[in-house]
Amino acid sequence: MRTRATRRHKDWALAYALLLPGLVIFSIFTFWPFLQNFKLALYQNPPYPGLPSTFVGLSQVGDVLSSVTFHQSLISTLLFVVMVVPTGLLGGLVLALAAHKALKGMAIFQVIFSSTVVTSVAVAAVVFGTLMDPVVGLLPWLGLDPHPAILSNPTWALPAVAVIAIWQFLGLSFIIMTAGLQSLPEEVLEAARLDGARAPTMFFRVTIPLLSPTIFFGLVVGFIYAFQSFGQIDILIGSQNAEFTHTNVLLFYIYRALSVQNDPGLAAVLSIVLFAILLSVTLLQFRFLERRVHYAGN
């Protein structure tokens, strides 16, 4: 017969044992690397591998943050997000509204609209790459001049990649908006209908406000999604052309710094910036948007 104390202690030991695997993985592969960035940022790397890196303190940070490449990267990233997120959410909302009735065949439409969520960046890149290819693509069919190749065009490369990302985001956006529509309280909508609200009023003054938590969630998810997109750029544009075509988004810049330029210090500084942006936007969105969000209870 165990005493109460040993029983409790055994429970504690079990709990810690259950948490251990996760904690170990996180410590080695999440927390430690995250913190290590702050150290790496302070060391400048030599142009040739094998030579030691030199401690330069915050000057590297300063150099990177003030460089033209960095500014361009930020602008590209920001433009990309602005192009992708609202369009993707709107598209998803439209599709969700269209598919939100219990009609024949609706299930098939719902599967179709969700389908882009399973596409990977590689698949989307190759598929769209073909469509946008100057020689074999469909652009002439749409009336656009395919030369010079849209993906090598400094003005149009980023929007082209944005189109790919929007298409991919549609599936996720549709799923989120559908879930949101399904959660709207039926009684409130019926009450509005009984009160004589017609379609536009219903939509703008009832549906959208009730849907605002979902839209808010979609914005956060979309923002993070857009920030994490770079595979399409890697496959279709490549490291060499990224800067020239203004598609050097932040994540791609980090990848190039690591893999192409072998400069962990640069990558570390950029990673910290990426983290800071994502964190502050998430917090900002929660603080400011949540005030304007109309929860069904209000």
């Binding site: 017969m1 165990r2 005493t3 109460r4 029983r7």
Partner: protein
């Protein structure tokens, strides 16, 4: 031997005592009901016997074993939860077998015992169903079957009938009593329903605010309540309480006086609380002055609420053939002196020298 003994047991959460200095013995084979309003500590006391709550002070014994620090599974007790706690993803058969799987009993014997327990409760045709496919009453019986399959030394039941509708409750009450009498297992039964308590228990332990008020056989509890709480808790409606003061040979109230009955002659002069059950009051030609405030006709009887001068309301029980007064009428309420109880005006405790 499977008696349960609480010796000065307390359960404290910080400054609050959910169970306060409880001393109680449940005899072997007895069905003892823990009765009281919500928050009185009865469920906490039950869970301490199960081992689901730790004992803060005092010692708890099952049989000859001190079980304060013993794991629930080693105490050989079975519990029927208020919500039945059936495993939703397992069939009835598997639910009943579940307690036996841990005890290294072979499959064949396990199935046999589960079937026996199920048959005792009339569940033999439902063995393959899942709890979601059963009615409330059937689920309750599965919970009971699961408890009896282990043949434990103590049954613990936590308000097992409260989720059933009224009619089913009456029938199941009888079934549980019959089952317990047949198996002869010591049972600790928690409820807030006094009708259940009165009809099912060998003895009833009334609790309030964590403290034991009185433990006795149902009839004793009804006829000789130890304090005003027990007096008013039992009975439907409960005992009427009348504030009065003894002056000489009389018990004086704002509505009139009563002669001090022989049985209460030992009461000290001064403030006293009198108690009279509705059935020992009647409306007649003499007694305390009151006005009728409510007449409730219940078929076989009528309950007349009479407001005394001074504010106290008495409930008088009338047979269906007696004349019913009208609302607002002035009446005289007479008290059967041999059925009068007396309680200390300050503490509410029963004053001996009565009955």
């Amino acid at each position: 031997m499977a008696r349960v003994h609480f010796a000065k047991v307390s359960k404290r959460y910080g400054d609050v005592a959910a169970v306060d200095d409880l001393t109680l013995e449940v005899a072997d084979g007895e069905l003892l009901v823990l009765l009281g309003p919500s928050g009185c500590g009865k469920t906490t006391a039950l869970r301490m016997v199960a081992g689901l709550e730790d004992v803060t002070e005092g010692s708890l014994t099952i049989g000859d074993d001190l079980v304060n620090d013993v794991d629930p599974k080693d105490r050989d007790v079975a519990m029927v939860f208020q919500s039945y706690a059936l495993y939703p993803h397992m069939s009835v058969a598997k639910n009943i077998e579940f307690p036996l799987r841990q005890r290294k009993i072979e499959t064949a014997e396990r199935k046999q015992r589960a079937l026996e327990a199920a048959t005792t409760l009339g569940l033999e045709d439902l063995m393959d169903r899942k709890p979601g496919q059963l009615s409330g009453g059937q689920r309750q019986r599965v919970a009971l079957a699961r408890a009896i399959v282990r043949d434990p030394r103590v049954f613990l039941m936590d308000e097992p009938l409260s989720n059933l509708d009224a009619k089913l409750r009456v029938q199941t009450r009888g079934d549980i009593v019959a089952l317990q009498r047949r198996l002869g297992t010591t049972t600790l039964y928690v409820t807030h329903d006094q009708v259940e308590a009165m009809t099912m228990g060998h003895r009833i332990a009334v609790m309030q605010g964590g403290r034991l008020q009185q433990v006795a056989a149902p009839q004793d509890l009804y006829e000789r309540p130890a304090n005003t709480f027990v007096a008013t808790f039992l009975g439907s409606p409960g005992m009427n309480l009348i504030p009065a003061s003894r002056q000489g040979d009389e018990l004086v109230t704002p509505s009139g006086s009563l002669a001090v009955p022989a049985e209460l002659s030992g009461i000290a002069p001064g403030e006293v609380t009198l108690g009279a059950r509705p059935e020992s009051l009647s409306l007649g030609t003499e007694g305390l002055r009151a006005t009728v405030s409510l007449v409730e006709m219940l078929g076989a009887e009528t309950q007349v609420h009479c407001k005394l001068e001074g504010g106290t309301t008495l409930v008088v029980r009338q047979g269906h053939d007696q004349v019913r007064p009208d609302l607002g009428h002035s009446v005289l309420v007479s008290v059967d002196p041999s059925s009068l109880h007396a309680f200390d005006a300050a503490t509410g405790d029963r004053i001996e020298g009565s009955q």
